[in-house]
């Protein structure tokens, strides 16, 4: 049965690639003359071109949101949401899922060759912001013939992109789904990111970001960064429920090897992440999180003013046990939208799974998304 995919899966998918020429001016002041984006699509663009949905990924995500690259492999990271008959139904919608600029899954990033030096960019890759990503995604939409997204959807850092889309391109987004996100990071959140970055940058194998030239990777630092992140993505309750104080050997060993099951779990998560993810990309992504603030350039840093020009309908979703992007942060977005007289709905989903909930099949959460997508009007193709 390894060749058969579940009937509600988009099945076998292969990434596509687009090259973009012409200067891309970044928030940092740097310019990229040329870059490439890798992305996947699911479903078909209709004749009216009004059924396209953009998926924005979070810190450690990539373009592989749904389906399988090979039979038997794990499906994409948001496969429980996207597929025929799933809440984001690919029989109705054309879904586009890019890997962000600066990523390490195929789009131009620190692992790519810098044309100026013919060497790998490494630490010389420019800082990228959420606004920069939205610019590149808009260019991708142009090449795909998508004038206006039916919806832009994302969780966490992805939700920030959905929000930025609605601000930067009000006439190109009909619905913005901002899930488990925030209008800007809290001090505590930046602090977590700084510890993660410090873990990476103080790894003996980091070599100022030029570790590729030394044939090594700062795996230990990346592992620590991920271990820390992982703790903050889950709730106290769910860690307690899943691991408790279980001992791997059934007894205390009075040593620093793994004793508690949670230690084993975190080490495993950290190690497998360090094998698949690039440290320079991790540094860039956390900086992008820290910098995000759509109200930074409006008078009095007033989010209401930043959102006043948005014309999308918003769905804002938070999760009760999420303390990394707490419901209170989502409510700030909602209040700004209410004050700015925008169309918005808000749901706080009861879940014990913390920030990770946005990736999980929490029943009410998925019913909310399914219903929201179902009532989204699109032009039906003649059969």
């Amino acid at each position: 049965m390894s060749n058969a995919f579940p009937p509600d899966s988009v099945g076998l998918v292969s990434p596509q690639r687009r090259a973009f020429h012409g200067p891309l001016e970044l928030d940092s002041g740097a310019t990229l003359e040329h870059y490439e984006l890798v992305f996947e699509t699911y479903g078909e663009l209709n004749a009216a071109r009004d059924n396209a949905v953009l998926i924005c990924h979070a810190l450690s995500g990539d373009h592989h949101a749904a389906g399988y690259h090979q039979p038997g492999q794990r499906p994409g990271w948001w496969d429980n949401l996207i597929g025929p008959g799933k809440p984001l139904d690919t029989r109705r919608f054309f879904v586009v899922s890019p890997n962000n600029l600066g990523g390490c899954a195929g789009s131009t990033g620190p692992l790519s060759i810098n044309p100026a030096t013919a060497q790998v960019y490494g630490p010389d890759f420019p800082f990228v912001t959420v606004r920069d990503w939205v610019q590149t995604q808009a260019r991708l939409a142009d090449t795909l013939g998508i004038e206006c997204w039916a919806a832009v959807v994302g969780g966490s850092l992805g939700g920030m992109q959905a929000l930025q889309w609605a601000v930067d391109f009000p006439h190109r987004v009909r619905h913005a789904l901002v899930i488990a996100a925030a209008a800007k990071l809290t001090t505590q959140n930046i602090a977590f990111n700084e510890v993660a970055r410090h873990a990476i940058r103080s790894d003996a194998n980091f070599h100022g970001g030029r570790y590729y030239e030394h044939g090594v990777v700062p795996a230990h630092g990346l592992m620590l960064a991920r271990m820390l992140g992982h703790i903050t993505y889950l709730s106290d309750d769910v860690l307690m429920a899943r691991f408790g104080r279980e001992l791997r050997d059934g007894k205390l060993n009075f040593g620093f090897d793994v004793e508690f099951e949670i230690e084993s779990y975190l080490r495993h998560q950290g190690e497998s992440f360090a094998k698949r993810f690039d440290a320079n990309t991790y540094l860039l992504m956390t900086k992008s999180l820290d910098y995000f603030d759509p109200a930074a350039k409006v008078p009095e840093h007033d989010l209401r003013k930043a959102l006043a020009g948005a014309s999308a309908r918003f769905l804002v979703v938070s999760f009760s046990s999420d303390w990394r992007f707490a419901p209170a942060r989502s409510r700030e977005i909602v209040v700004a939208l209410l004050d700015a007289d925008r169309d918005v709905s808000y749901v706080e989903i009861e879940s014990e799974q913390g920030h990770d909930s946005f990736l999980l099949e929490v029943p009410l959460y998925h019913r909310v998304l399914r219903t929201y997508f179902q009532q989204m009007p699109i032009t039906a193709d003649p059969v």
Binding site: R331, Y346, V347, E348, V368, Y372
Partner: protein, 198 residues
């Protein structure tokens, strides 16, 4: 059910194109009705997840929130009408909520079951808490923690300095009669009010 008639009555009080906040909006039917019948814009507030799904189905903006936390998310005078149907008696601080309604809205519309109706009075006289078609729950599992009568409500309005603009007295089929208008506290099962700050 008769909700449709209550909606029709409320719609009659609402000016075209106004901005409306519906507290405890349930499945969003009233807002959906007002959107079509009166081209209103606005939001519903609802606490229950299942009801929120219904609201999204109905295509109305809905904000999940607990009314007992007040309306601090909303600016002063940001709505033409703040509506609350069959919810006042289930809130923790009805008096505060009425003040909040008229802080964020220019006018308020409230409906509630009248505890002064003769059937309720008879049951209380017989020594029992009333259970009627309109108040079907027993005392220990009711969410109605602040029941009031027509006269109670009007007394509160007077002490809060609220001006009652319109009143409707209805039976459980949402009909009204001349007698009901004359003796609303005895004959009305449901009371509807439109009021504002004096």
């Amino acid at each position: 059910m008769t909700m449709r008639e209550e909606q029709t009555l409320i719609a009659r009080w609402i000016r075209n194109g106004s901005r409306v906040l519906d507290l405890g909006c349930g499945d969003g039917a009233l807002l959906a009705h007002l959107q079509t019948a009166r081209r209103v814009s606005g939001y519903g507030i609802e606490i229950d997840g299942e009801n929120i799904v219904r609201c999204l189905e109905a295509g109305v903006n809905v904000i999940q929130s607990d009314l007992d936390r007040g309306l601090s998310d909303f600016d002063d005078d940001s709505f033409d009408y703040v509506i609350m149907t069959q919810t006042l008696q289930a809130t923790r601080y009805p008096d505060r909520l009425l003040r909040e309604m008229l802080r964020v809205g220019r006018e308020a519309i409230v409906t509630f079951p009248n505890f002064g109706h003769w059937k309720c009075r008879l049951q209380v006289l017989a020594g029992r808490m009333p259970v009627t078609r309109h108040l079907p729950s027993t005392w220990y599992d009711t969410s109605n923690i602040h029941m009031c009568t027509v006269r109670d409500f009007e007394a509160l309005c007077a002490s809060e300095g609220l001006e009652i603009l319109e009143r409707e007295a209805l039976d459980s089929a949402h009909r009204t009669t001349a007698a009901m208008r004359l003796l609303p506290n005895l004959l009305a099962e449901i009371a509807l009010y439109r009021f504002r700050r004096r």
